[in-house]
Amino acid sequence: MDPDNVLEQVLTGAPDRDRLGTFPREAVDALARCGAFGVAVPAVHGGDDGSARDLGALAERLGRGCTGARGLLTVQEMVLAALLRWGTAEQRDHWIPRLVSGELVAGFAATEPEAGTELGAVSTTVERDGDELVISGRKVWVTFGSSADVLLVLGTTAAGPVTVLVEADRAGLERVPIRDPLGMRSARLADLVLDSVRVPVANQVAPAGFGLSHVVATALDHGRFTVAWGCVGMADACLRAAVERVAGRDQGGVLLRENPVVRAMLGRAAVAVASARALCERATTSRDERTPEALVATVTAKYAAARAAATVSGTAVQLLGAAGCAGDSVAGRFFRDAKIMQIIEGADEVSEVRIGDHLLRSSARPDGGGAL
């Protein structure tokens, strides 16, 4: 079957997956067959050598239909990006083709009960014992943590933060699925308990001391990018649903579309979607040109897009009324998902501080600083 049709078929299953809190292996395989996980991976590792633009387009498409599928793309891409950037040649050769083919599903385990925004405070320990690393700690809110085959875990050592790949079948690793989360219900969310889990030293990614500042930072930067485009897809889908409703709805003889308040709501929503898209486009260009500003441009795009998804899905639910609150409502589903988008990969307030910091730094530049 044409990859395009396969992708559409996967997205069609989104409401059921959300309702049941599942993401079947067949859907993972179907996404892999469409080449979803290798879009931005160099051909030498089995990928399609695509650009940030190609990756953004895919994230938007998945986001428009299924937050679980977009979430899977995001975690797979985060771990791929971390390995492409900071893996050794052996690590890249071993892991990347398996992640691209979908043979392995990746998870990203950084957040802890006492370390969310402040990841420098993680207390998961990584200690060397001969040829092995011994890892102990707790991780929360791991996307696809219930089904991932390998997890990139952030821990701490005497020499500073470190990242380690932990295969999910290692002894001492327990996954605790998160039941009935607010949103992202098909994303197989789980908390993890690691009790003296042993992995080979070869599973360590980058030297100790660079796990947070370089490896996790790279992964989160990539995560923000696909979350941002996914949010544009969600927001746009909600806007379309709202317009369709308003255009057709006859409210007791008075057409909904003739109500100026309703039209104003649509106007605000349309501007939110267009602004988010423009910021995502800018971040995409910046990433394809590999400018140092790409990092903050991506933070900005993710912040704006998550807010757009949250406000526009809220508007859509409001305009759809009872239909928006029904269990099978796309707008309702995205309303629940969008709130989480304002928290993961940098909560709104954290992004605001970071953007503010960037402005102040720019103003110190000899040329007085450029645009945000």
């Binding site: 900071w86 893996g87 050794t88 420098g120 990614v205 980058a206 030297p207 001391g209 660079f210 947070l212 500042s213 370089h214 930072a217 790279t218 930067d221 590999r290 400018t291 140092p292 790409a294 990092l295 970071r354 910091d357 102040l360 730094r361 720019s362 110190a364 530049r365 000899p366 600083g369």
Partner: protein, 104 residues
């Protein structure tokens, strides 16, 4: 700076380009070339990755996992020495800045 100008970059050129990054790193005063800005807390984890992208873009080099050694990054002079070695692997040690300055 473009690829084919690599060979012509002097230590002074590299130093001034690296300094531009630190002038925007939220630092309220000039950092001395040999000052350990990491231990002074001037480069938080958010900026560390930006520094990598900045030197890669400015000098057309790639920072590999093998280069992730604090000794390559902890002072401006060490960053300059690191860039020099990446541009010309025969150019010497981490103290290449002072050596180069005296030889040029």
């Amino acid at each position: 700076m473009i690829e084919n100008e690599k060979e012509r970059l002097s230590t002074a050129d590299i130093t001034s380009t690296v300094r531009v990054f630190f002038s925007t790193a939220g630092v309220d005063r000039a950092i001395e070339a040999d000052e350990d800005y990491f231990s002074l807390g001037y480069l938080n984890s958010l900026l560390a990755l930006e520094l990598v992208t900045y030197v890669e873009r400015s000098f057309g080099i790639t920072v590999e996992v093998e280069d992730l050694d604090l000794d390559n990054f902890r002072t401006i002079a060490r960053v300059v020495g690191f860039v020099r070695r990446k541009l010309d692997p025969t150019s010497g040690t981490a103290d290449g800045v002072t050596e180069r300055q005296s030889s040029e």
